[in-house]
């Protein structure tokens, strides 16, 4: 999956085991769920995830160089929803000023809303991950810590900050904001 930008998403492969293991165990990924403890475990996890139709795990590449990963999980065509997650910029210093975060999110949302034609994307952010919460809020994504207004009560997680974005909100607000931020180089 590519676009007019220099960032592209490609599906995770078995050979990504070493680099994704390194990223998952970095300090920057400390607020993600616990991952594999060895490269071998990581390889088994990749093998399993490749065979799972409900998740699309992507390597983010900048000019063909792997720099991070992002995923669409729990893809549910009946509910017309999927969960965005596992966003890791593994090569942060290299990516600075190269619009990687914004482009990766635009590509992920385009995959969800255009390719898969889903109506909603949601996510769960660790309550301690203030910077990620602020980033999503700034781009116009809705944040919820109570379930009442969340689009699906069964997908709400009490111990997290829940985020929600509809196809319309993406097209009318979030995409514009992400395109603006990418001009700064984010």
């Amino acid at each position: 999956m590519s676009n007019i930008f220099e960032v592209e998403l490609r599906l995770l492969e078995l050979n990504d085991d070493v680099i994704t293991f390194k990223w998952r165990n970095s300090i920057r990924a400390k607020l993600l769920n616990q991952g594999a403890k060895t490269v071998e475990e990581q390889r088994k996890w990749i093998d399993k995830s490749i065979k799972d139709d409900t998740q699309h795990n992507f390597i983010i590449r900048y000019k063909s160089i792997p720099v991070g990963m992002v995923s669409l999980l729990d893809i549910d065509k009946i509910k017309s929803a999927a969960q965005a997650g596992r966003l890791i910029i593994g090569e942060e210093e290299f990516c600075r000023g190269k619009q990687v975060v914004c482009d990766a999110l635009i590509l992920l949302y385009e995959h969800a809303f255009s390719t898969l034609n889903l109506k909603n994307v949601y996510g769960h952010i660790d309550k301690k991950n203030i910077l990620m919460q602020k980033f999503h809020k700034f781009t116009g994504v809705k944040l919820f810590n109570e379930s009442e207004l969340f689009f699906d009560q069964n997908l709400f997680k009490n111990d997290y900050i829940n985020i929600q974005i509809s196809k319309t909100e993406y097209e009318n607000v979030v995409k514009t904001k992400l395109l603006t931020l990418r001009k700064i180089g984010l």
Partner: protein, 95 residues
């Protein structure tokens, strides 16, 4: 006022960063630059905080709008350039 707003926003951001990633409040400190350790999420947080603090002071400006971004090259390069950028926006805001 503007110096205090930027300082306050950076101090708040530093609370979310580890001890070895603290941003020194100095005009020469690189922000979004190859020599900086400020990542995308941190810069957005900083922008958001500054916009909110400016709004609380009666100045509603967007630091990332196309119109404003066209007024200066690399406004987020250093803390000093960010302050210059905000001053520029504030001067055009107060008419």
């Amino acid at each position: 006022m503007m110096d205090e707003i930027v300082k306050k926003a950076i101090e708040l951001l530093n609370e979310e960063r580890s001890s070895d990633e603290q941003i020194v409040v100095s005009d020469d400190t690189p922000l979004f630059h190859e020599d900086s350790n400020v990542d995308s999420l941190s810069l957005v947080s900083l922008i958001m905080e500054i916009e909110m603090n400016l709004s609380d002071s009666g100045v509603d400006v967007s630091l990332t709008s196309d119109e404003n971004m066209a007024k200066m090259e690399e406004p987020f390069k250093t803390i000093g350039s960010l302050k210059t950028y905000i001053k520029l926006l504030m001067s055009s805001h107060v008419k």
